[in-house]
């Protein structure tokens, strides 16, 4: 195995374990890794932005292909930096106005089409299906999301939740019943969202532990095992130094 991969495995394992020490308690080892994380990430983003934006999208096309027109967006972008000079800060407003205005202009037609019209269109689907020349059917299959029964449930859900959101007056009579239905629908959806959030978080943990298991292999020199012993030892030493707050028994 190449030397840089072995060193990489040791570094990656060490950093992973340092972050995990936070589960025991906040400690200097975690803080070290945390600050390193911020530093490396910011450094990475600076390099990528410089290389992609300045080198490949601006300098190269202008110098190599003579695309001088690119200087116009560059100039508008530079206006934003005027924000840092108090006297010239007003100039940055033109750049912001242009960008925000463009965003607003783009958002109106696209949002109406994608999220309002298309979503309403799918909600008011025919509640009965026509089959053949003169037959009308109503499919009751709960498990098929596009059955007529589910179309009615979706219509009920969408309208009751929208009612609950938009009519924030005190509900009474029929209004109260509709708003209550909306709340029940909302709670079920929040429950589903919670279930999926748990799923996602556990997947991330599984991913990290899979890497740690991979790096406990002999071909890497078993960094997971050695570094785990080392870090537990370090935590123990740190705990002993904290004489004013003795560590918990776990």
């Amino acid at each position: 195995m190449p030397f840089e991969l072995i060193v990489g495995a040791w570094v990656a394992t060490g950093l992973t374990l340092l972050i995990f020490t936070f589960l025991y308690r906040d400690n200097p080892l975690f803080k070290l890794a945390e600050h390193l994380y911020v530093g490396v990430s910011v450094g990475y983003i600076i390099v990528k932005t410089y290389d992609t934006v300045i080198v490949h999208l601006v300098v190269k096309p202008i110098v190599e292909n003579g695309e001088v027109a690119l200087l116009i967006p560059v100039a508008i972008g530079m206006l934003m930096l005027a924000r840092y000079v108090p006297k010239a800060a007003w100039m940055s407003r033109y750049a912001f106005a242009l960008i925000v205005g463009m965003g607003a202009g783009l958002a109106i037609p696209r949002t109406i089409s994608s999220f309002i019209l298309k979503q309403i269109e799918d909600t008011v689907r025919p509640l009965l299906s026509l089959t053949g020349t003169d037959g009308i059917t109503f499919s009751m299959d709960v498990l098929n999301p596009s059955s007529n029964l589910n179309a009615i449930i979706i219509l009920l859900g969408v309208s009751s939740v929208l009612f609950y959101f938009f009519f924030s007056i005190e509900h009474s009579g029929v209004g109260k019943a509709v708003a209550r239905t909306g709340i029940i629908f909302l709670m079920i959806s929040f429950g589903a969202a919670f279930g999926y959030t748990v799923m996602a978080r556990m997947s991330l943990l599984i991913g990290r532990l899979t890497d740690l298991i991979e790096f406990s292999d002999a071909s890497y020199g078993r960094p997971t095992i050695w570094l785990l012993i080392l870090i537990v030892g370090a935590l123990f030493m740190l705990a002993r130094r904290r004489t004013d707050h003795p560590p918990d028994s776990q």
Partner: protein, 167 residues
């Protein structure tokens, strides 16, 4: 982005200069950042050249990827602890939420579908019908708000994005 980076630069530079508590960590932050920028510029901003990893790629793969990944992975432990501490059926609504969450958690893993085959179908129905209708209502509501805001911006009613407020 520039705003965030400059304030980060400034905040930690002050800490190092005044040797405030924890200035060593700020030094680590600076070291990590400058080191990454140096190897990044050396490698022309490329993580690999013709399939071979550069030093910049090494920093990315063996430092940034595990650090960022683990930062988010520890949330798994905290969501478990939060579930134990605060996920209680205090009211009828909370009970509905709890039951829906348990069904979805069961129905989306092989063991749940194996033990109670119906749980997979029920959680599919919850997601595709009940959840979809709520999310649709939210999407329509939020979109109406976004369109209204866009019109306000275009007609100059909403100008707070320009900053200040002084004309």
């Amino acid at each position: 982005m520039i705003l965030g980076v400059t304030s980060l630069f400034h905040q930690h530079a002050v800490k190092i200069k005044r040797q405030e508590a924890g200035w060593g960590y700020s030094l680590v932050l600076y070291g990590g950042m400058l080191g990454t920028i140096a190897v990044g510029l050396w490698a022309n901003g490329k993580e690999s050249v013709n399939g071979a990893m550069t030093a910049f790629g090494w920093v990315y793969n063996f430092m940034m990827v595990p650090l960022q990944g683990t930062m988010f992975a520890i949330l798994a432990f905290f969501i478990a602890s939060a579930a134990y501490r605060s996920f209680r059926a205090r009211s009828r609504e909370a009970a509905v939420l709890l039951v829906a969450a348990v069904i979805v958690m069961m129905g989306r893993v092989p063991l749940g579908e194996y033990l109670i085959p119906l749980s997979g179908d029920v959680s599919s129905w919850i997601l595709n019908v009940l959840n979809a209708s709520v999310r649709r209502a939210i999407l329509i509501g939020v979109s109406l708000g976004a369109v209204a805001l866009s019109f306000k911006i275009i007609f100059g009613v909403e100008r707070s994005y320009l900053g200040g407020g002084k004309e």
